[in-house]
């Protein structure tokens, strides 16, 4: 649990600008697709979580826009785009 708290604190160090709507969405009806479980492991920001009923949920706040989930899960289960111009993470060091 401490790792997850640590991660939230770490993401809190980054500058994020709010977007009108989430730029990545789990496609309706795909919440239990086995491909989504990969995202739980690969997301460096830990934004995918598997619930007890097997559904995977995505919280978009803290997304680093790295692209790993798009490659691991594919576009059949994820609707994936970049945030709109000027929104999302803004790295100060990179």
């Amino acid at each position: 649990m401490s790792e997850i708290l640590g991660l939230k604190a770490k993401l809190g160090l980054d500058v994020f600008k709010h977007d009108k709507e989430p730029h990545i969405k789990i496609k309706p009806g795909m919440e239990k697709d086995p491909r989504l479980k990969r995202a739980v492991l690969v997301c460096p920001a830990g934004l995918y979580e598997e619930k007890e009923d097997g559904r995977v949920e995505l919280t978009i706040d803290g997304c680093l826009e790295c692209g790993t989930c798009r490659i691991a899960c594919g576009t059949e289960v994820l609707e994936w785009y970049y945030p709109s111009g000027g929104a999302g993470v803004q790295f100060r060091f990179g």
Binding site: E3, V42, P44, L64, G94
Partner: protein, 429 residues
């Protein structure tokens, strides 16, 4: 009549900025679109840039470039569970100008490079996401960005590793997980005097270290550390396929936390304060994973084309990005002179790349991805070497065994045969 640019460049990373700088230098009308607040806002590196292959392409650029430190000390660390074996290298040539490589932070560097491109006459629009390409009669005619329709003779897709633009142009398909790694890192602020003391550096000298083995729990990849002026970049790169397959199932961020807690690392970053956490996908498929580089009215450069190369001892992308941006610009300059922006005319981009270090490196190292995709490299050998070193240094209460038999007991016939087979693969790199 609406304005038509010579070139619209999608993405102000190193490829896009290099292309914009080169085109503007020749007086072409260039529009550079960047979705971040400023160039560099979305860009991540490990990172270190090597200048020798690209020095001549941008002769006026280097003197004032805001790099961090020149790398004067190289290190590789092979990590087993409870021990590690370190190899460090210092050489006179690393301490002499012109320096071979520098540590770099992209938000700072890219922003500076964009100023240089603007000074040459390129038009930069930040906070502008390109939504789609304008394709008419099978030819790319410009882009749609934030409701605007922007037209140009040619579009250069420098939109990074996922390159949605190259996908839309039909030049690539979404990649497979085996061809990509994910890198994630922390920038940890630390007083420069303390950095110098801990790494044995003076002035602007810098250290680069790679870590392999336990760092990635046996998965394809490794850890890295670069010293910046007043911070340390510390991170991990792992193959996405290995990470998503589990065995062992471990979440990416946990790998970095555990890496930081290793005693070898903890003492280097002690007292430092993490100021940023970032992540990015990296193309690691080598030659086979390169996209088609050009089409009717479009070119692809940088990570978008797959130009990043992991050969084990080095992982390089930024020089390929800058060089491919430069050659894309040269192809556009030639196409403009011919007034022909067809695929046949833009094919000169690929010919120039073929003659340059870019494609020559990719061809020379075409066997690297396969040779490095060997789990024994990331688990078995680090443990084996660690155990041999432990026994070599160990002085038991009684008498000590002779050195050769000490090592030999780990190297039975089966082991030697497996090593021989692995070595044959690694020799192809």
């Amino acid at each position: 009549m609406e304005e038509k640019f010579d070139a619209i460049i999608v993405g102000a990373g190193l490829a896009g900025l290099s292309a914009a700088y080169t085109l503007a230098r020749e007086g072409l009308e260039v529009l550079l679109l960047e979705r971040g607040d400023y160039p560099g806002a979305k860009n991540v590196t490990g990172g270190r840039i090597y200048l020798n292959p690209i020095r001549e392409l941008f002769p006026d650029l280097w003197k004032k470039a805001p790099f961090e430190r020149h790398i004067s000390q190289e290190g590789v660390s092979i990590m087993a569970g409870e021990r590690s074996l370190n190899l460090s290298y210092r050489g006179e040539e690393l301490e002499q100008e012109p320096y071979q490589s520098y540590s770099i932070l992209r938000a700072k560097f890219d922003r500076w490079l964009s100023k240089q491109a603007e000074r040459k006459g390129a038009m930069l629009v930040s906070r502008s996401r390109v939504d789609d390409l304008i394709i008419e009669n099978g030819r790319v005619e410009g882009v749609y960005a934030g409701g605007d329709e922007l037209r140009s003779q040619v579009v250069i897709a420098c939109d990074g590793v996922l390159s949605l633009m190259a996908e839309k142009a039909g030049l690539r398909k979404p990649g497979s997980a085996r061809q990509y790694g994910v890198g994630f890192k922390e920038v940890i602020e630390l007083d420069s005097a303390l950095i110098n003391e801990r790494f044995g550096l003076e002035g602007d000298e810098g250290a680069a270290r790679l870590y392999m083995g336990e760092v990635t729990k046996g998965k394809f990849g490794g850890g890295f550390l670069y010293t910046n002026k007043e911070s340390i970049s510390l991170g991990i790169v792992v193959g996405i396929h290995d990470l998503m397959e589990g065995a062992p199932a471990i979440q990416a961020p946990v790998l970095l936390d555990e890496f930081k807690q290793r005693p070898e690392i903890a003492r280097l970053i002690k007292g430092g304060e993490t100021v940023e956490y970032s992540a990015h996908v990296i193309p690691e498929g080598g030659l086979k994973a390169l996209t088609k580089l050009y089409g009717e009215g479009i070119l692809v450069a940088g990570d978008a084309a797959g130009f990043s190369l992991n050969i084990g001892v080095t992982v390089r992308g930024m020089e390929y990005a800058m060089a491919s941006g430069y050659y894309a610009a040269q192809a556009v300059i030639q196409a403009k002179a011919r007034e022909d922006f067809s695929a046949a005319s833009l094919a000169s981009y690929e010919s120039m790349l073929n003659e340059s270090f870019v494609m020559q490196d990719f061809k020379n190292f075409s066997a690297a991805p396969e040779a490095l995709d060997n789990h024994r490299i990331y688990t078995h050998y680090p443990e084996l070497l660690g155990n041999i070193m432990r026994d070599m240094y160990s002085i038991p209460p009684g008498s000590k065994e002779r050195l050769y038999p000490t090592a030999k007991k780990y190297l039975g016939t089966g082991e030697l045969w497996a090593m021989f087979k692995d070595l044959r693969k690694v020799m192809k790199i």
